[in-house]
Symmetry: C2
Subunit: 338 residues, 2 copies
DNA sequence: CTGAAAGCGCTAACAC
DNA sequence: GTGTTAGCGCTTTCAG
């Protein structure tokens, strides 16, 4: 069991055994073309035999490339970010990259120090769902100055020229609201999220759609949730309005689920008396007493596409400005808006 | 914005500027004691001025330590593992470690290749929620042979002498079952999970507790869920038994939530006619139509303690065998077992 | 096709 | 206290 640690095999060892130079072995390992067929197979044989594994730290230092990319998210527990992480990982792994994940805890200073750590580790690129204040792009300039490519995800900063990949939040807002209109609702309340890109985009889409339909609602029809857990209270307040809303659009699923809870507790029927829709298609939406209609934002796809753009700009020249990628939302209609 | 990439400052640059040796600067950076007070402050000043950041790749190569630990989980989307990851991260970050996360997709070969990658990256240690077949410990021996410390989490392999940290699954099974007994239930059905450590531990605890209470139930009272999403079907089958169960214990929350859905759809009342309990305390348990009672397994704490043991065995000598750490479960009683 | 020379940026060990 | 000598294990560059 606990045998004495084995010193890993090095290029040098193989070279010595075979009476060739370290260079030759290195070339075989990296699949360079300019190696004689016979030499190559002798080397390959020995490599298998000794189960040689390149030391990536040494390789990274010499090649000035780590094949590591950094991912910074505000909170891994949020299934949205976990799914992005999964999408990123699935995209980069086959290309030989690994990913180090950092949590900023939704705090801009943590984020900055994570960025510094990652840069010190010489990551080849960065993916950031940023917790910087809107408009605050000093951190991004710093990364730029280092010449390390990065892609912003989920939270957009139009002041930075960095590529951006995220859900199309305005489209989400429009889609949810339109769906509710199509179902015959007219007094559509909204529980809005924090004033970051996603929350305000969805709110904007909601307002536009109502306006386009010629519907005017009192300001009280929009509640603001600080937090994922405040859907319940927000909905409780909305239920006291007269006339009562006939629909509630929650800026994400937890909020909408909280709203559903408040509604059902008040003895009001979903979807007959109030329809409810959320955003995110979290995996339990379907398990709620009334399965929750939702807008799917294809989180995995956000991770995949962001990773894709990043990888390309790593290999490539100075990055040409990439147009923001807005992922199209998909409506998942379930019982709560039947 | 897109200014030309700046070459990072090196120890050498500072040394040259100040007419001291690279070593001296290195010592200041690492806070070694043996540096003159004045020299030190001159160096420090220049470090700030130039915003010097050590190159961790070079440092890792020279010091033969990366301060990176690898975490391998079957699925990041599972909030249980995401929470573990968060706990790990929170524990190691302040100590200067970073974490690279790999997904095995619940596949033993993926896991093995991830382990190899991580070893090639010279990680200082490994945390593994393993997808190896029960009893299959060849992979672990390989890691041992390399002398890299690792800690097993969630899935236990008693054949390996590696430290283990996980929930106390038998205690979980006992606690859930006992709670149901205390509530007056007698025909307690169980939806069991896959035959890995957690699933079978919970099943065992369930059986023991029933036996201790002198209750004998037909085999049909235990259904097996392949998958998190099969709670619904499993419960549907259980509901057809006569006499009908008066309680269902799901091996995790998604399963229990699926069961709740089936029960409510059948027009049966929770908790009056059937009580339901799950495991995991996922964050939405509370949002279900009937808030779900559950056993909390303190996932973050699993990550923290595992990371703790790992870090200690990195610094330390050959590891002394560590007793398995079983985290005590906590009962969260909600409406579904009132 | 093969290999020698020259590092990558940093640290360990030991002199001075 | 400070600096020297040697690398860590690999790749780049460029001769042969």
């Amino acid at each position: 069991m606990a045998q004495t640690p084995t010193t890993p095999v090095r290029l040098k060892d193989i070279a010595r055994d075979l009476n060739v130079s370290v260079m030759t072995v290195s070339k075989v390992v990296r699949n360079c073309a300019d190696v004689g067929a016979e030499t190559r197979s002798r080397v390959m044989a020995r490599i298998k035999e000794l189960n040689y594994q390149p030391n990536w730290v040494a390789r990274s230092l010499a090649a000035r490339r780590t094949f590591i990319i950094g991912l910074i998210v505000p909170d891994l527990m949020h299934s949205f970010f976990a799914e992005i992480a999964k999408g990123v990982s699935a995209t980069i792994r086959p290309l030989g990259y690994d990913m180090v994940i950092c949590n900023s805890e939704e705090n801009s200073e943590n984020e900055a120090s994570e960025v510094d750590r990652l840069l010190a580790r010489q990551v080849d690129g960065l993916l950031i769902a940023s917790a910087q204040q809107p408009g605050e792009t000093e951190l991004f300039s710093r990364i730029d100055a280092r010449g390390v490519p990065f892609v912003l995800i989920d939270r957009r900063f139009s002041e930075s020229s960095a590529p951006y990949v995220g859900a199309d939040d305005e489209a989400i807002g429009r889609m949810a609201t339109k769906h509710l209109l199509d179902r015959g609702c007219r007094r559509i309340a909204h529980i809005a999220g924090p004033q970051l890109a996603p929350g305000s985009g969805r709110l904007k889409g909601y307002r536009e759609t109502l306006a386009a339909a010629g519907i005017k609602l009192p300001d009280a029809c929009v509640e603001h949730a600080k937090d994922d857990d405040t859907g319940y209270e927000a909905a409780s307040r909305l239920l006291k309005l007269t006339p009562r809303p006939d629909a509630i659009f929650g800026y994400n699923d937890p909020t909408a689920a909280g709203a559903m809870k408040a509604i059902l507790e008040a003895g009001i029927k979903i979807p007959e008396e109030i329809k409810v829709i959320g955003v995110g298609n979290v995996h339990y939406s379907d398990l709620l007493r009334v399965p929750l209609s939702t807008i799917d934002q294809s989180s995995a796809s956000i991770g995949e596409q962001a990773a894709d753009i990043l990888i390309k700009s790593i290999g490539g020249k100075r990055r040409r400005t990439v147009k923001p990628v807005l992922i199209d939302p998909v409506l998942i209609a379930r019982e709560s808006t039947r």
